[in-house]
Amino acid sequence: MENHRNDGGSKLGMWLFLLSEILLFGGLFILYSVYRFQNPQIFHLAAEALNRPLGVLNTLVLLTSSLTMALSIFFLKKGSPGRSLLFLASTLFLGILFLFNKYLEWTWKVQLGIYPDAPRLLERERGEVLFYGLYYSMTGLHGLHVLVGLGILSVMLFFILKNKINHNHSVPLENTGLYWHLVDIVWIFLFPLFYLIT
Amino acid sequence: MIGGVTGLPDQIVEDVFLFIAAVSVSILVLITFLMIFFTIRYRRKRNPKPEDIRGNLWLEILWTVIPTLLVLSMFYYGWTGFRTFKKVPEGAFTVKVMARQWSWLFEYENGVKTDELIVPVGRPIHLLLTSQDVIHGFYIPAFRVKQDAVPGMVNPLWFQAKDVGAFDVLCAEYCGQQHAYMLTRLKVYPEEEFNRWYEEKGKQFEQEKGLPRGSRLLQEKGCLVCHSLDGTPRIGPTLKGLFGKTVPVITGDRERNVLADEAYLKRSLLEPNTDIVKDFPPIMPSQKGLLTGEEIDELVRYMKEL
C-alpha cells in the first residue's frame, strides 16, 4: 500500500532485521569462542597458515566500499544522482573484488587439500578440523551476505537509473547502505579472529 | 529437612519432590478455589453491577515476594540434593560404562566385561559413562539417577543399593530405532556373593586374555544385539551360514547379488552402508576405529565358521 509510506517505519524495520543478523552471526561467534578456548594452541598454528596480506587487502576493500556506499547515499540525498550512481558502482565493484579475493583464497586452500571432509584435513589434529570448519562456515556465510548485498546494490543501481529512487525517496538506498555497513562490521570482527591470532 | 538434604540420591529426590508437590498443590488449590468462588459469587445474575478495582500495590508486592521466596527455597533444596549427587563418596566401586546403539557394556576394574551391571549391595557405585556413537541416557528409575552418555566425554554418576535385587536399566536419551529396547538389568548381589562372582570372572578373563575369541568379540562389541547366530533375522540379518552365500544387496540405487567372501565381510564391518542387505534398514554402525585390525581378522575368521 504505497499510499501510507512510512520512512521511519522502513528504517526501524531494517534495523530490526540487522539486529537479528547480529544474532545469526552471534551464534557462530559463540561457537568460535568456545572452540578457540578449547584448542588455543591449534587455532593459533592454523591461523598462521592463512594468507594474512590477502586478509588485510580484503579488509581495506570492504572498508572503502563502506565509504563509497555512504557517499552514494550522501549524493543521492543532495540531489545529484549521477555522482550517487558513480559511487554505487564503485561499491559494487569493490564488493566483487572482495568476493574474487575470497575465491582465490578458498581455491588455494582447496588445492592444498584443506576443505571440509577432505582426507588430508581429517588426518590433522581435531582442533584444526574445527578451525577450518569455522573458517569455511563463517567466511562462507559472510560471503553469502556480500553476494546478496551485490544483488541488492544492482537493483538499487537500476532504480536510480529509472529515477524510482531519488532525493525525495531515498530510503531504499539508505536501507541498502545499512545492510552493507553491517556486512562490513561482521568482517571487521572476522578479520582479527581468523587472520590475527597470535 | 531444613538445613540441607542428606542421604542417598533416591531419598533426596523423593524429599525434594514432596516439598515442591506440597507447595504446588496448595497454590493450585487456592487459585482454583478462588477462581470458582469468584465466578459463582459474582455471577451476573447475582452481581449485576461490577466494581472497578485497578490494582493494589501491596497485593502486587506480596504475590511477587512470597512466590519468589517459595521458588528460592525449591531451588535451594534441589541444589543441596544435587550436591550429594555430584559428590562421589570415598571408596566407591568403579565401573566403566560404554553405551552404543543399542546395548550397554560394563567394564570392571579387573578387566571383566559384562552386559548386565552387577554390583555389591550397600556400597557406593561409581559409574563412568561414555558412548561410542550417539548420545544415550543411562537411567535406573528405581534409584532415581540418570546421566547422559556422550561420545567424547566421560560423565560420572553414582548410586548405592540398599537391598539385594534386580532392577531395570533404561536408555533415556533418544538414540535411534531401537531406543526403546536399549534395556538391561542391574543386579545387586550380597557382598560375598558378589566377591565370589567378581573373582571367578576375573580369573576367567585372565585366562582368555591374549586369545581374542570371535564369539566373545561378537558379544562385547554389541553385534549380537542386532545379529543372531541361529538363523533368525533380527534387526540385521543373521550371521549364521553367511560366509560363501550370495547376498542380495542394494548398492546406491542398484540391486545386485554379491558373494559373501572375506572382503565382503570386512567391508560390511567398516563401510556397512556401501552394500545394504536387501530388506534391511541402513542402520548398522560402522566399526571403523572401534575394532583393531586384529579383532577384525578374528571376527571374520569366526564368522566363516558359523
Binding site: 500500500m1 501510507h4 512510512n6 517505519g9 526501524l12 524495520g13 530490526l16 539486529l19 551464534g27 561457537l31 572452540y35 571440509p116 571432509d117 574445527l130 570448519g133 569455511y136 562456515s137 | 529426590v13 515442591i20 497454590i27 493450585l28 487459585i31 482454583t32 478462588l34 477462581m35 469468584f38 465466578t39 459474582y42 455471577r43 461490577p50 472497578d52 478495582i53 493494589n56 504475590w63 512466590p67 519468589t68 521458588v71 525449591m74 534441589g78 541444589w79 544435587f82 549427587f85 550417539v134 548420545i135 541416557g137 540418570k146 547422559d148 556422550v150 561420545p151 567424547g152 566425554m153 533404561l170 533415556a172 536419551e173 533418544y174 535411534g176 530405532q177 531406543h179 526403546a180 534398514p281
Partner: protein
C-alpha cells in the same frame, strides 16, 4: 461500508486471497493453513496413542513410530504453536487494536505467509525424498542427526525457512506497535494482547536467528562434512544443545505469551470490569521475555554440562516462574467483584488458568536440580509440556476463536454446544495427560515405541483419554464450521461489550478497518 471479504482488490477469487496484503486476509490464510497442519499433528498424536495402548508392537514398526513422534513435534511446534497466535490473531487484531489500517509492512507480511507455506512444503517434501521421514525428535540432537540415514538435511532446512518467516512477522509487529499507534494510543493504553505480542515479537527477532544458524550448520555438516559438532571431528555435541535451546527455550514463551495476552483480553470483558494490575501484567510479559532468554540450560542438567552452569540455570528458571505467577494472580483478582458471565470464551480462559498452572507447576519439579535428574526425558516432561502448550496455548486459541468469531466472520456461535465440547475436551485432556505425569514419576522414558509391562494400565487410560479429547475437538470444530456457514448473522459491532478498538468497528471489519483513524481517549478496559 462493505467488509474486507467483499473488497475487490487487484485479483478475484482465490488469487484475491493469496496475493492480498490485507492483514485480516493474511490472518485468515494463516488460520486455514495452521488449522490444516494441526489437524495432521492431532492425527499423528492419535496414532501414537494407539501404538502405546498396549506393550509390544501394536499398529506400527519402531521406525514408523520414531518418525511419527518427530513429525508430530515438528508440526505442533514449528507449524502450529510458534506461528499460531501471532500469525492468526496477531495479524488480524493487532493493527486494529492499535488503531492502524494495516501492519507496517503489508507486503512483507504476505511474504512471510508465503515463506511459511514454502517451509511447510519443504517439510512435507522431506517425508518422501532422501532417506525418508526424519526420526530424530523435534530437537535434532547431534550426533544422532548426523548419523541417521533419513532426510535430515531437508527437514532442517524447512525449519530454517520457517524461522525466517517468524522473524519477518516479528519485525512487522514491533514496527507496527512503535510507528502506527493511533493518536492518543499511549503505551499504557495498549491492550494487553498487544503488549504480549510485542514482547513475543522481540523474542522472535532475537532468538530465532540463533537456531537458524545452528540448523544451517547441522545442514552443512550433513551435506559437506564441515567439522562443527561431530565429536569424531573434535566437535562438542553439548554445544549443539546450548545453541538449540538458546532459541528453543525462549520459543516456549513465543508460544505462551500471546496466549496469556488473549486471556488478559477475555477476562475483563466477561467480568465487565477493568483488569487488575494492568502494568504488572504488561511488565511481566517483558520480564518473562527477558529472563526467559537465559534459562535454556535447564534442558541439559543431565547432559554433562558443568555443575556450575546447571546451578545458575536452575536458579534463573525458578525466577522466571514468578512473573507467570503474577499474571495468574492478577487474572484471578480481576474476577473479584466483577459481573461475570460464563460464556464459552471465559470458560476456556478459566480452563487455561487451571491447566496452565498445572503445567507450570510441574515445570518447577523439572527446574529443581535433584528432581530433574529423575524426571528428565520421562513422560513427566511430556505431561508438563502438553499441559502448558496444549492446556495453555491450545485452550487460549479455543477461547480466542469463540471470542473473536463474531468479529472475524460476522456470525454468531451457538450457545449450547460449546459447553458440551468444553466438557469433553476438559475430561479428555486430563485423562490423556495426567497419567503421563504419574508414568514419568514411575520412570517411563519418553520417545519409547514400546515399554515394560508395569506401565501398561496408565498408558491405556491415557489412550482412552485421547479418544474423548478428539471427540470434543471434532464437536467443537464441527460446530464452529457449522456456525461459519449457518450461524446467525452478527449485526452488532460489540456483542460482548468489549472496550478495545476492534469492537468499535463493524463485524466483520471493513477493508482498511477504520473509516477515520480514531482518537483514543481511554484505556482498553474502561467499560463505563
Amino acid at each position: 461500508m462493505s467488509s474486507f471479504y467483499e473488497d475487490e482488490g487487484r485479483f478475484r477469487g482465490i488469487l484475491g486471497w493469496i496475493f492480498s496484503t490485507d492483514h485480516k486476509r493474511i490472518g485468515l490464510l494463516y488460520l486455514l493453513a495452521i488449522f490444516a497442519f494441526s489437524a495432521v499433528g492431532v492425527l499423528l498424536g492419535f496414532l501414537m496413542r494407539l501404538e502405546l495402548m498396549a506393550p509390544g508392537p501394536t499398529i506400527m514398526r519402531p521406525q514408523t513410530y520414531n518418525a511419527i513422534f518427530t513429525l508430530h513435534g515438528v508440526i505442533m511446534i514449528f507449524l502450529f504453536v510458534i506461528p499460531g497466535i501471532p500469525a492468526i490473531f496477531g495479524n488480524f487484531f493487532l493493527p486494529i487494536q492499535v488503531g492502524a489500517r494495516d501492519v507496517a509492512f503489508p507486503r512483507i507480511n504476505l511474504l512471510s505467509w508465503w515463506i511459511y507455506m514454502a517451509g511447510a512444503g519443504l517439510a512435507v517434501l522431506s517425508l518422501f525424498t532422501g532417506g525418508g521421514p526424519v526420526d530424530t525428535g523435534w530437537t535434532f540432537y547431534v550426533p544422532y542427526s548426523l548419523r541417521t540415514p533419513v532426510n535430515v538435511p531437508l527437514a532442517v532446512f524447512a525449519v530454517f525457512i520457517l524461522g525466517f518467516s517468524s522473524i519477518l512477522t516479528g519485525i512487522n509487529f514491533v514496527t507496527t506497535t512503535h510507528q502506527l499507534r493511533a493518536p492518543g494510543m499511549t503505551w499504557f493504553r495498549l491492550p494487553l494482547f498487544v503488549w504480549a505480542i510485542y514482547a513475543t515479537a522481540w523474542v522472535q527477532i532475537l532468538a530465532t536467528p540463533v537456531v537458524g544458524i545452528t540448523l544451517l550448520l547441522t545442514l552443512m555438516e550433513r551435506l559437506a562434512g564441515v567439522g562443527i559438532f561431530d565429536p569424531l571431528k573434535g566437535g562438542d555435541p553439548i554445544l549443539y544443545q546450548h545453541l538449540f535451546w538458546i532459541y528453543s527455550h525462549p520459543a516456549v514463551y513465543i508460544m505462551i505469551l500471546p496466549a496469556m495476552g488473549i486471556i488478559s483480553e477475555i477476562i475483563p470483558v466477561f467480568a465487565q470490569r477493568t483488569i487488575f494490575g494492568y502494568k504488572a501484567i504488561a511488565f511481566s510479559s517483558l520480564a518473562i521475555a527477558v529472563v526467559g532468554s537465559f534459562v535454556w540450560g535447564h534442558h541439559m542438567f543431565v547432559s554433562g554440562q558443568s555443575d556450575l552452569a546447571s546451578i545458575i540455570f536452575s536458579l534463573l528458571t525458578f525466577l522466571v516462574a514468578v512473573p507467570s505467577g503474577v499474571k495468574v494472580f492478577n487474572w484471578v483478582s480481576t474476577l473479584y467483584k466483577g459481573s461475570i458471565e460464563v460464556s464459552p470464551p471465559l470458560l476456556f480462559a478459566l480452563t487455561f488458568i487451571f491447566l496452565f498452572s498445572i503445567g507450570g507447576l510441574t515445570g518447577l519439579f523439572q527446574g529443581a536440580l535433584a528432581t530433574n535428574v529423575h524426571l528428565h526425558d520421562t513422560y513427566w516432561v511430556v505431561g508438563h509440556f502438553h499441559y502448558v502448550i496444549f492446556g495453555g496455548t491450545g485452550f487460549a486459541i479455543f477461547g480466542a476463536l469463540h471470542y473473536w468469531f463474531p468479529k472475524m466472520f460476522g456470525r454468531r456461535v451457538g450457545k449450547k454446544i460449546p459447553y458440551l465440547a468444553w466438557a469433553l475436551l476438559f475430561v479428555g485432556f486430563n485423562t490423556l495427560y495426567f497419567p503421563m505425569l504419574i508414568l514419568g514419576w514411575e520412570g517411563m522414558p519418553r520417545r519409547y515405541y514400546d515399554y515394560l509391562p508395569q506401565f501398561h494400565s496408565l498408558h491405556l487410560v491415557s489412550t482412552v483419554g485421547s479418544w474423548i479429547l478428539i471427540a470434543g475437538l471434532i464437536l467443537m470444530f464441527g460446530h464452529l464450521i457449522y456456525s461459519l456457514f449457518r450461524g446467525e448473522k452478527e449485526r452488532l459491532e460489540n456483542p460482548w461489550g468489549g472496550a478495545t478498538l476492534e469492537w468499535q468497528i463493524p463485524s466483520p471489519p471493513p477493508r482498511e478497518n477504520f473509516a477515520e483513524i480514531p482518537r483514543v481517549e481511554r484505556g482498553p478496559y474502561e467499560f463505563r
